[in-house]
């Protein structure tokens, strides 16, 4: 192989690299966007206007994070716990926000080293409705 063809071979490889890199970087951004959010969604009950929030055994769609909801006076205490090793690595020590889709809930909190945290939300019809669909975003 002469010098010229060898150099074009490197050019072709460079093209392969930069094109793969450009596509993959979009993939990584998409992954980061998805990773940053853990969605909790409750199917609306047909027989009641107010949603019935599950007190336990509620997990996000990717089964990474569980939520337990406890009503204490005028508050809803939402205890989050990471599920499994991979999730623990992801959540431990991280700051996060609980955001409802309708914008009614926006609460900042932090996971401890065991991947556990408690977010406190006002217990009102508005926030109970908002709890139907919320996301936990890692910051």
């Amino acid at each position: 192989m002469d010098r010229s063809s060898s150099s074009w071979r490197s050019f072709n490889f460079t093209l392969d690299v930069i094109i793969a890199s450009a596509i993959a970087k979009d993939d990584v951004r998409e992954f980061e966007r998805i990773q940053a959010g853990f969605e909790f969604k409750l199917l609306a009950a047909a027989d009641s206007e107010q949603p019935r929030l599950p007190s336990r055994d509620w997990s996000d769609r990717r089964q990474m994070l569980s939520a337990e909801i406890e009503e204490v006076d005028a508050e809803l205490r939402v205890t989050f716990q990471s599920m499994g090793y991979a999730a623990l690595r992801q959540f431990a020590g991280r700051a996060a926000r609980m955001l409802s889709n309708d914008g009614a809930i926006d609460v900042a909190f932090r996971f401890d080293s065991q991947g556990r945290s408690v977010a406190i939300v006002a217990n009102s019809p508005l926030t109970r409705q908002a709890m139907i669909n919320f996301r936990v975003l890692l910051e």
Partner: protein, 389 residues
């Protein structure tokens, strides 16, 4: 798209090992593992894992795990021409990205361990990163498969050592890509977009092409064979032999047709066409519909050839100008490729009005457009180098 299915995944891995926001990056093997498995199971399930072949029997997550085991976690061998494997090369670049001043000058050398035994040659400096590298390498299996050219090279030139300043750490002859990444320093320098990142990405792409090759060869047989079922049962030579055999096969899968194809292309590991006919793989091939998937096995460089280098920015621009002068690419394409070299993504570029206008004019989406561009360049090279040769 790109010329080999694993390129995009390799680039994903490269991007997952650097940060655009911070000057240093912490390699968290646990998080990286989660990210890689997730990417394989969701984003690359169709393009890389041959999803149709396993969809009825396993989930994307299971397939991702098995793919990880047979490619990223598969120890790579040396080729006959070089003294280090592609995994060793990754280990070296990871070490050179360490934050210690001495990391920059890390080297891999082969040398007899003079008076001291391997166990006695320990890092001289109590530095966490060096400790991590030393311990991680010591934990890896030290076995060597028979047939690995490393056996002969080791006898002739001695064991392989990672030299970082005054420290010398013995490196296993057979390492996987994953081991190489995890054995490197945990705290590494982030890579500047452009040439520095592209060179690192090129090394990962080169290694993944080799690691992915046996999987791809099986996908290349077509007929919906699930690569996971046959990776351990068939050698690479048998798979290549089968591919040639199937190419020679015309018409239906009759024993007569197999006999004719066998005369033209016998398959290693089988004595007669009847052996092949009655074998498990023979039965599996006959039970599937003929439908070759045209995979670019033949376009991949021979692993014994020295890996091509990623060009420097200047060399790349020179080549682009040559292509522009020859009328192979337009000015806007030249600008676009330069911007890709510097680290822009397809979505960044698609937002550019000139690029958007070009795509509209050609009536192509971005991936098809890039594939067309690469084809134009390669056609021109064939003509140009052929006429000059």
């Amino acid at each position: 798209m790109t010329s080999f299915p694993s390129d995009r995944f390799a680039a994903y891995l490269a991007h997952s090992l650097t940060s655009d926001e911070r000057s240093t990056f912490f390699v968290d093997a646990g998080l990286l593992y989660v990210s890689v498995l997730d990417a394989l199971a969701r984003r690359y399930r169709l393009s890389l894992l041959s999803h149709a072949s396993f969809a009825a029997r396993m989930t994307g997550e299971e397939a991702a795990q098995r793919y990880f085991d047979v490619t990223l976690a598969r120890p790579l061998w040396l080729s006959n021409r070089v003294e280090v494997s592609l995994s060793h090369r990754i280990l070296l670049v990871m070490c050179r990205r360490g934050v210690l001043a001495l990391s920059k000058h890390a080297e891999l050398i082969r040398e007899e361990a003079a008076a001291a035994s391997a166990a006695a040659v320990r890092p001289l400096m109590a530095v966490p990163d060096l400790d991590h590298v030393s311990l991680a390498l010591a934990r890896l299996p030290q076995r060597m498969s028979s047939g690995n050219p490393a056996n002969a090279i080791r006898q002739r030139k001695g064991p392989l050592w990672l030299v970082m300043g005054p420290s010398r750490i013995e490196v296993p002859e057979e390492m996987s890509i994953w081991s190489a990444i995890c054995a490197g320093p945990q705290q590494i320098r982030s890579l500047a977009p452009g040439e520095e990142f592209n060179r690192f990405c090129g090394i990962l792409i080169d290694a993944l092409r080799t690691a992915h090759r046996p999987f791809q060869e099986l996908v290349g047989l077509g007929r919906g064979l699930c690569p996971f079922d046959w990776l351990e049962a068939l050698s690479i030579n048998q798979v290549r032999g089968l591919r040639q055999f199937l190419r020679k096969l015309s018409g239906a899968d009759t024993i007569e047709a197999w006999s004719v194809a066998w005369d033209r292309a016998p398959v290693p590991g089988f004595k007669t066409f009847r052996d092949l006919w009655n074998s498990e793989i023979g039965r599996a091939l006959r039970s599937r519909e003929v439908g070759f998937r045209d995979v670019p096995i033949d376009s991949v460089e021979d692993v014994d050839l020295p890996a091509p280098d990623v060009l420097s920015k200047m060399e790349f621009e020179q080549r682009l100008r040559a292509l522009r002068r020859a009328g192979v690419i337009e000015e806007v394409e030249c600008i676009m490729l330069n911007r890709l070299y510097c680290g822009e993504t397809l979505s960044d570029l698609a937002a550019n009005s000139d690029v958007a206008a070009l795509l509209t004019r050609r009536g192509l989406n971005f991936p098809v457009f890039l594939s067309d561009l690469q084809e134009r360049v390669e056609n021109w090279q064939r003509m140009e180098l052929g006429s000059n040769g």
